[in-house]
């Protein structure tokens, strides 16, 4: 074989190989797209660092939502919910005139939430959803000013999700029973008491 033909063969082989590689890549990305993104794989492209938050306060046995919703048709109609989520339908007063389920819940995969721009966020990072409207509160929350913090003042701080204190469907903080008022100073009368007679702390085990 002449050197000329050798060169042509080489080029042809190289072309064939590169074509093959490209097409397999295209194929594999196609098949990846078709798969539903898992909650854990949702890209985290928000400027919020990882906050230490306890798991979301789901009602018993309600998650994952896809257990029921996977096989159901999506009905975007505003309506009284009758069979399921009746209590949510009843309490719902979170700007309810402007809002309905699928403004926050993702219709295609109920196990995640959906932002106004179409991005998906997990229930563990639902603060990104609330922060869309409540921007000033979100800013204060990130700085540690809004909401309860526990842990170490100069170390690891435990944050809470918005939904730990505010029911997302009825967000106003609910009134609670106050603990007893202090004794009036006029009532101070010292008497030696046995251990059983000493008044217990009315706080009990509240943490």
């Amino acid at each position: 074989m002449s050197s000329h033909t050798k060169f042509i063969t080489l080029v042809a082989v190289a072309l064939a190989v590169s074509f093959l590689t490209l097409s397999t890549q295209a194929l594999s990305s196609e098949s990846h797209k078709a798969e539903k993104p898992k909650t854990s794989e949702i890209p985290k492209n928000y400027d919020t660092p990882k906050y230490f938050v306890p798991p979301p306060p789901f009602s018993e046995g309600i998650f994952p939502c896809s257990d029921c919703h996977e096989d159901m048709d999506v009905n975007p109609e505003r309506r009284e919910l009758e069979d399921e989520h009746v209590e949510i339908s009843e309490m719902f007063n979170h700007a309810s005139d402007q809002r309905w389920c699928l403004d926050c819940h993702n219709p295609d995969d109920r196990d995640v939430l959906r932002l106004a721009n179409g991005d998906l966020v997990s229930f563990e990072e639902s603060y990104n959803l609330c922060g869309q409207c409540h921007g000033t509160i979100f800013r204060d929350w990130k700085a540690g000013i809004h909401g309860k913090r526990t842990g170490e003042w100069n170390g690891r701080k435990q944050y809470r999700l918005c939904v730990h204190c505010h029911n997302p469907h009825s967000p106003k903080f609910k009134a609670i029973k106050p603990l007893p008022p202090p004794n009036n100073p006029l009532e101070i009368k010292y008497k030696k008491l046995s251990d059983e007679e000493i008044p217990r702390n009315p706080l009990g085990n509240i943490q």
Binding site: K148, G155, L179, P182, L193, I198
Partner: protein, 310 residues
């Protein structure tokens, strides 16, 4: 007659002055019940001021005290003497736009700090005000004894008051025994073993933050907090003054925990941090929110900042 010039060979004659001196010392010795107790009464009687103790003396005192408490309360106590962290000045923030007056803080403080249950001692007073009525200019008009079914009550708002940890504390100035002083991290503390119970500090405090043990403190055994600090929540004695110390036994560790009232607050109205750290929560709220300090005109310079987040 010739006056005696040398008395070396003869015993010193008992003068009236020497006689009285001797009698007083003898009486003092007799007053201490030697037969019924060990050396700890002597040691506690001659215990030095906390700030003047050497490390060894402090360890000795703590050992003795832990023994005394164990005997008295029938449970073992741990008494820390942790000093102030470097570059730390503690500050506190309280969001009046969030507080709902539920008094969780009052009783979390009692649980953490071993306050007497009877006679009752609370470090925090939650004041209730009617909206639109006289407020910070007239704290006397506030209701401390409100007790509705649920809080917040319509048309009312709440303001908890506790020790404001003043930078210029009037209570410290009036103490005749220097039993109360301001620590390098800004916490105003009391040495309960040096307090003589004169209550000058209570009269001097413009915030009514100090409390007096009118009787022997009584705490149920199962509710005792055995993790204590010498300057903080160790059990107190009858006849001494006590008050909030920002939970000195929690906050002085590194990393240190939040005070108990911060951790219990269900609405997250209470904030705590280092005023010298520009990235701290307390600095953020002072720089970004509407803030005021109670009775600022008295020049006490509290490190307790009331603020409005909304």
């Amino acid at each position: 007659m010739k006056k005696k010039t040398s008395s070396k060979s003869q015993p010193k004659p008992i003068t009236r002055r020497n006689f009285l001196k001797g009698t007083a010392a003898g009486a003092a010795t007799l007053a201490i019940p030697v037969g019924t107790s060990d050396a700890s009464i002597w040691q506690s009687f001659f215990q030095k001021h906390f700030q003047e103790m050497s490390k060894a003396e402090m360890a000795e005192v703590i050992k003795r005290m832990e023994k005394e408490y164990a005997k008295k309360y029938k449970t073992s106590f741990n008494i820390k003497t942790t000093g102030a962290l470097p570059d730390t000045l503690f500050g506190y923030g309280l969001d009046l736009s969030r507080c709902i007056g539920c008094r969780r803080c009052v009783y979390a403080c009692v649980r953490e700090n071993n306050q007497s249950r009877d006679p009752q001692i609370h470090y925090i007073s939650v004041l209730e005000f009617e909206k639109g009525h006289k407020w910070v200019s007239d704290l006397e008009e506030a209701d401390k004894y409100y007790n509705p079914e649920e809080v917040p009550e319509d048309g009312h708002f709440y303001m908890p008051v506790q020790c404001q940890q003043c930078e210029n504390p009037p209570c410290v100035k009036v103490c005749p025994t220097k039993a109360t002083w301001k620590e390098p991290d800004g916490i105003v503390v009391i040495d309960y073993n040096w307090c003589i119970g004169c209550r000058f500090c209570m009269a001097a405090c413009p915030y009514g933050a100090r409390r007096f043990n009118w009787g022997e403190p009584q705490i149920p055994k199962e509710e005792l907090n055995p993790k204590t600090h010498y300057l903080g929540n160790r059990p107190r004695y009858k006849g001494v003054v006590e008050k909030c110390t920002f939970c000195i036994q929690r906050v002085r560790d590194n990393p240190g925990k939040y005070p108990a009232c911060v951790e219990i607050c269900p609405v997250g109205a209470r904030k705590f941090g280092n005023l010298l750290d520009p990235k701290s929560e307390i600095r953020y709220l002072i720089e970004n929110k509407r803030v005021f300090r109670l009775k600022e005109d008295l020049n006490t310079s509290p490190k307790f900042y009331y603020f409005f987040a909304t």
